[in-house]
Symmetry: C2
Subunit: 134 residues, 2 copies
Amino acid sequence: MSGSTYNTKQKQLIKSVMTDNKDKQLTCEEIADLLKNMGTPVGKTTVYRFLEKLTENGEVRKFIGINGKSTSFQLIDKELKCEEHLHLRCTECGKLFHLGCEFMNGVGEHIQKHHRFRIDNSKTVILGLCENCQ
Amino acid sequence: MSGSTYNTKQKQLIKSVMTDNKDKQLTCEEIADLLKNMGTPVGKTTVYRFLEKLTENGEVRKFIGINGKSTSFQLIDKELKCEEHLHLRCTECGKLFHLGCEFMNGVGEHIQKHHRFRIDNSKTVILGLCENCQ
DNA sequence: CTAGTTGCAAAGAGTTTGCATGGCG
DNA sequence: CGCCATGCAAACTCTTTGCAACTAG
């Protein structure tokens, strides 16, 4: 993206793990472990560095302190236009849900108009329990 | 609370700092520094331990990875009944706003009914920019 | 060849734990 | 006096940085 970058085997491997797990959040450690178990180990430092870059590029979403401890990451599905809606995350199973509906679109407007606050959809994660985990 | 506790000078001091700063979030380090500057130093370990306890008791709200780095804490104003509404937090100035209005109360219902998801008001923090910081 | 990339080892930051001392009730 | 609390130092975990070897273009 910005500046020049080389397309290395490590980057491809990390991206493929993120794609294979696009329904959940993974920590850098988990990503490194998965790659090691696949017989294609990638240095943990490289994983940290590349995920930071993917986050900056908007290809990945970063979750800080939401799970037990470590920062975790999840691939952003570009087709879902996630910038345009809020997200629900189940604190029990970790699943992410997209709140793209008419009613919820009105919430942003309400908060801007009546509370004079502009929600940042990319940073906000609404926490709670999904149907299965309730 | 749970089990027996002694009312020590350190606990009183920490609580008074939280009360004096109930409009903002403080890290354990900041709390310890404030107390040191007041001439009544309290060990950092004690601050960590007591804030963890206050969080468990529901007297304080814990913010993980929302600011730059460290975990921070803010006193919960019992009179505001914060369990009953969502909160907005300005990513710029750190101010916390309470979303207790008719319209927003309907949001929880909508999400339960139409998305089959139960929001956890105590864990959720909606991020964005307040009027002053926009 | 040149600049970006990798990954080990070491440094850092934040937080937790062990343990002997001290204080509340 | 007994039990909880305190706080120093050390351990720990997660993440970042320095640096020499390596590799894509």
